[in-house]
Each structure stands twice: as structure tokens, then as C-alpha cells.
Symmetry: C2
Amino acid sequence: MYIQSVEVLDKRFKMGEGAGSDATHTNPQYSYAVCVLKTNTSIEGIGLAFTLGAGNDLVCKAIHYLSVKLKGVEIEALMADFGTAYRQLADEPSLRWLGPHKGVVHLALAAIVNACYDLWAKSRRVPLWKLLLDLSPEELVNTLDLSYLEDELTRAQAIDLLKGELAGRSRRSEVLTTGYRGYDTSVGWFNFSDELIVEKTKQALDKGFTAFKLKVGSDDPLRDLRRAALIRQTAGDAATIMLDANQKWNVPRALDICQRLGSINPYWIEEPTHPDDVFGHRAIARAIAPFKVATGEHIPNKVIFKNFLQAKAMDFCQVDAVRVGGVSEFLTISLLSKKLGIPVVPHVGDMGQIHQHLVLFNHIGMGHENLFLEYIPHLRPYFVHPATIVDGFYQVPQEIGSSSDLKI
Amino acid sequence: MYIQSVEVLDKRFKMGEGAGSDATHTNPQYSYAVCVLKTNTSIEGIGLAFTLGAGNDLVCKAIHYLSVKLKGVEIEALMADFGTAYRQLADEPSLRWLGPHKGVVHLALAAIVNACYDLWAKSRRVPLWKLLLDLSPEELVNTLDLSYLEDELTRAQAIDLLKGELAGRSRRSEVLTTGYRGYDTSVGWFNFSDELIVEKTKQALDKGFTAFKLKVGSDDPLRDLRRAALIRQTAGDAATIMLDANQKWNVPRALDICQRLGSINPYWIEEPTHPDDVFGHRAIARAIAPFKVATGEHIPNKVIFKNFLQAKAMDFCQVDAVRVGGVSEFLTISLLSKKLGIPVVPHVGDMGQIHQHLVLFNHIGMGHENLFLEYIPHLRPYFVHPATIVDGFYQVPQEIGSSSDLKI
């Protein structure tokens, strides 16, 4: 099976009132820059990169520029040494200047890389999670580009890590019978009224969710405190509540407000300040312990993740495969996190479609803790096989590929 | 004077054989995404962002998207509180997702911001360096966005820093009679033959240059060593020689090769590894002292510069105003560098046109050391007022604006 042509789609979706809003991104339109790999068969590889609407066309144009070399390539041959192909795409000598490894061009890479893995899984007629579990440690590492990580994770160390986890696989495969726990982000969008937050939290409790996220970062911290107390009161003391500031605070302000938000016993504070600020996050993490710091949706590549992990500036790694360089860089960052002892709890720009596969592999294949995965329902109607939650748990996807197919 | 419309130009230039090549960017085509602010007068503000050709159109498109709010704005009113306007542009809620503050969208911001300063200087009929020197400390800081720097540099501290340098201004203004020393990057491009490097170094010596840069990062380190020794031999023991690896090495390799390159007594090693790697650069800087580490052309914003400065991961700060968010963010990063004790030696994606103004202000107004400024002649024919070097010194520009006007 070989790639005959590349099609690019600019897909933007309607959102409900206030849905997806946070302190920084006040009026998002969830959108995908979509890479479609057409083959000499009826099978197509679909890859997504997530944006908030504006500029989605820039990512689409960059997919065109970056993907030209994929034409005529045979999929098994490509994936047998995908780490090398990845590096060539990521380091195209002139486009690289527009990053490197960040921004519009890197988002385009995400869509292309995700389409390659989707096509590979479909060509083998298995779901993505099973494709990854079926690979040997060497075969899996062959799909990764570990360049610039050699001071923390060599190829030999990556293979050894995966081999060391083979023994526990059958025990951890229990997750395939239980499903993977979800948490509900959609109870507490920034623009929701107090009444709506209470109503949505009650609905989520009825659906079996036990963990919830609230958007904070209001100009008036008292609003954050009031809304956090409302969720705590509605969900009860046993519930897990995460707070997400979406980069709104500077470091001194984050230190102040996070201390006060400790009163509702949050599980983590997410993106308390600028996503590039390694030392800012470290200062906050040290100050607010035992509450944790989560970040990653705006960390663009493995090198900056390496710095955050080295500095112990994050307690949870929220890498997102539709934001970094696709499944390949997601797995690279997951390996690095595992080696440095930090759990991975992905951000889901894909609404959990691809990540429901990746957390299964991370747990079974890599030995990452079985925690929970963000769930956002707003784009369910647009996916051919939307992720499905039953009693608060993601059901294990059985369709071939990465669950990225969109209805036309 | 108010902004009536915004025009965007995609300018790509012909390069000589091998010119501009380095170990990573093997075949560059120097290009500018140009923002033209048209006014109700014959004066236009011209702002540049620098790319290597591919994707320059993406930056141009992003200029269109970001600049819509500037239409109808009066230039003095805009610049009186430009820090606020800058933050609004940089934090456009949905385009921000494509960064934030990095990549294609941030390059577009550079072009827009530079056009604003150019227009402001032209409207006051002074060169940019004089415009900046004529501003009071409060007026200058009003043009900056210090958000996310509060843990290291508050508004009050920035103003105090500038006030503290007022007393030494007249002494430092001597640079206006001597000019600012240049160094020659164009003797040692990566694809140049050994013979051409020797010839170009001799020519540069004849023109009065005393400092030179060589591109390293060859697959065979012996090639780097041979060429470095050639330049040292040609230029003599008193010459200042900088080596530039353009991100080619991983950390262990950089540590190895930099030790060996120490034999030619280099002044600095530039971009020894991935530009995002704060701890990698710190490890290299500690290992190779007393040789220095320079970096910055690929550091996209003030927050990552803050981290490098906090970590003492750079000895020279090579911020580039056509790469970060324009003159405004350049000045912000220069202030931060001054406060944290690191000299600024800009990278010149603008071929020195704008930076010849900025280093004069950095020295006279901010008290930065009078060091030297990179000089690259390849685009001289395309500028209306090309920067001019006499006896190795940049001549102080006298024309109004930021010297960014391009011939059609």
C-alpha cells in the first residue's frame, strides 16, 4: 500500500454558547487542519491538528508544503524507520526557520504524522492501540526521533525501558476489560454561569464521572474561589477537582491565588502561568505542594518537555498528540516522562479520539500509571466513531485506525 | 498622522553561491515578510520579518490577520501606550493558540511592530536611534509589554534602570562620533571552500574588520577544526573569531567538539545545540568556560529569554528584532539582559539595518557595553539606505526611520 496523493481539509465546527471558553481563549471555534493520505487502495490515512479556528488555513497550507515528499512512499517501508522520516520532515532546512519545532509548521507536522500512524494501523486492520502493542520495542523505537534527547534518553535506554515493561503487560492489560477512566472538562468552561456549572456537574455525576475540571483565571479571584467552592459543594469531598488557569497569571499572582484556591483541595493547578516559563512553573510547584502542577498543552516539542522534566517543573505531563509532532513525538515524550518519573495525562485537542488509544499503550506497553483521560463531548457528531464513555470510563475502541475519521 | 491601510509584500532575494549557508540551513533564500503601513500622508511605515524563503507567504498571511485592528489608528496615540497594543496583538485569543508567542504568527507580529516604530520615527522626522533616545524612561517603557516578567523585571524597575543610566549618556554618546564596530559573518559560510574562506578573510581584514565568524557543525569534526585553524592563521592571534554550529550538535557531541575547538581560542560558540534547550546550553557554558556561549536568534520570546538568563545558560544574548516581537520585544529583552548582567549582541536577520539603531540606543540609553554588531552585506542592493561600514565600523544612520525601506 503506497501513498498516492495528499489532500488537506480545513474543518471548523459550530460550538454551543460558552463551550470551550477559558480565561485566555475567550471565543474558540474548535477546528482541525486535516491531512488525508490517499493510497492505491480505498483506505485513507487521516491526521488531525487542533486549532481554535483563526489561522487554521495557515496550518493547512503548511501541511501542503511539508507533505510533498510522502508521495509514492510505501507505508510499511515508511514506518519501519519512521524516526528518520520524522526528523527529515521536522528539519526541512528552510521551513525549519519558522520554528524550529513549534508554531504553525509544527502543527502541520502533527497532522501529517498522525495520518501516517492512522494509515499504518488501518493497513494492518487493527486499532492504533493494538498496532503499538504488537510492535517489538525496537520496532516502536524505530518510529521515534530521539535527537536532542541523548543527554537523558538514548535509543538503547528507550529500548531497555520498553523491554523492562514486557513482563507486566498481561497484568496491566486488565484495562482492556475495564476501559480507561475519563474526567469531565465540560462542566466548568470559563463563560458558563454559576447555575450552569452546578447543573453540568450534577449531570456528569449522574453519568458516572468522579473527576471534573474548572476554568479559573478570572480578573477577580473571588469569582474563581466562588465557582471552585460551588463545584466542590456539588460534587462532594470525594470528587477529584482540577483547576485550569490557561496561562492567565504571572508568577507572583499565580503564587498568591493558588495558595487561596488550596481551600477547595484541588488535585492540580493547570497552566498557572506562561507555558514557556520553566522556572516559573518550578517556583509555583514548589510553593503549592502537596497540590500539583499540570502543564503541556502549549509545550510544543520534546526539547522543552525535557527541560520541564529536568527542572521538576511539572507534576503531570499533558502532552497532546495533535499539538506536538503527532503520535511519534507523543510517544517520545511519554518515554522521557516515564524515565524521569512523571505521569502522562494528555490534553485532548482530538477530543480523546486518538488519545484513548495512546493512554492504553502508555499504560500497558510503557508501564505508565492508569490514571484518567480528559473527555470533551463537543465534537461527537462530527466523528465517524466518536469516543464513548460508559459509567465514566472510555470504552476500548475496536475499529481499525486511530479513530480520526470525520464525517464529510 | 493615522494608518489608513496595511499592505503586505512577500520579498525573496537572489543569493550568491553558498552565501548564507550553515550546517542546518543548507540552501537559504533570504526573504522578508514586509508590513507596509499606509497613512493619510506620503509617509509609510515599513516593518520586516526575516525568513529563509519557504513559508514566507505564511508569515505574510498572518500579517494580514493580525494587523486589521491597526486601521484608522493615529500613530502618536498608538505609540503612547504601545505596550498595551502589543499585548493585545500578541494575545489575540484564537491566533494565540498557534504559538503562543512563537512561530509564524510571532514573526508576523515582528513585521507589524517594526512598521509601527518605523512610522513613528518617520513621523517625527528622526532616525530610530534618536527617537528612542528622545523618549523619557516612562515613555519608552510605555511601548513595552512586561507581562510574564514580573518576577524579574517590573515596570518600576525598568524605569529605574533607565533613569539610572541617564547620567552616563553624554559620555557614552561618543559612539555617535566613532560609529559602532562591526564583525564579519560572511567570510565563513558553511558551503564555502577552504580557499574562499581564506580569500574572504583577507578581504575583510583589508576592509578594517577585526572580528569574524565561521560556520561549524560539519559531520566530520576535523573539517571544522581545519577551517577554524585556517581562519586563525589568516587573521592572526589578535583577531576575534566566533564559531557558529547553528544547532547541529546534541549535548554530548557539543561538549566533545567544543573542547577540541578551544584550540583556536574562539571568542564564543554560537547555538551549540537545540535552541530550546536551556539546561543543555547551561551544561555546555559551564564546561567550556572561559570560552563563551552565544545564542538567541531562535529564541522566540521574552519568556524563554528570561529562562536562559535566569539559568546563566548564555554569555551573550543574540536577540533579533526581526524574529522576536519586533523593536518592542527587542528592547524588553535588552532591559531584562541588562538587569541580569548579560551583554546583547544582536543576530541581524535585517542585515543590521534596524539593529544599527538599536545597539546605539542599547549602549547610550540602557548602558549596555559597546561591543560589536554582526554585518552581512548580501542584501545591500535591495535597501534604499543600506548600512555602511567604514574601516570596520557601522556609520551612524542619519535618515529618518529604521532604515527598513526596500527598493521596489
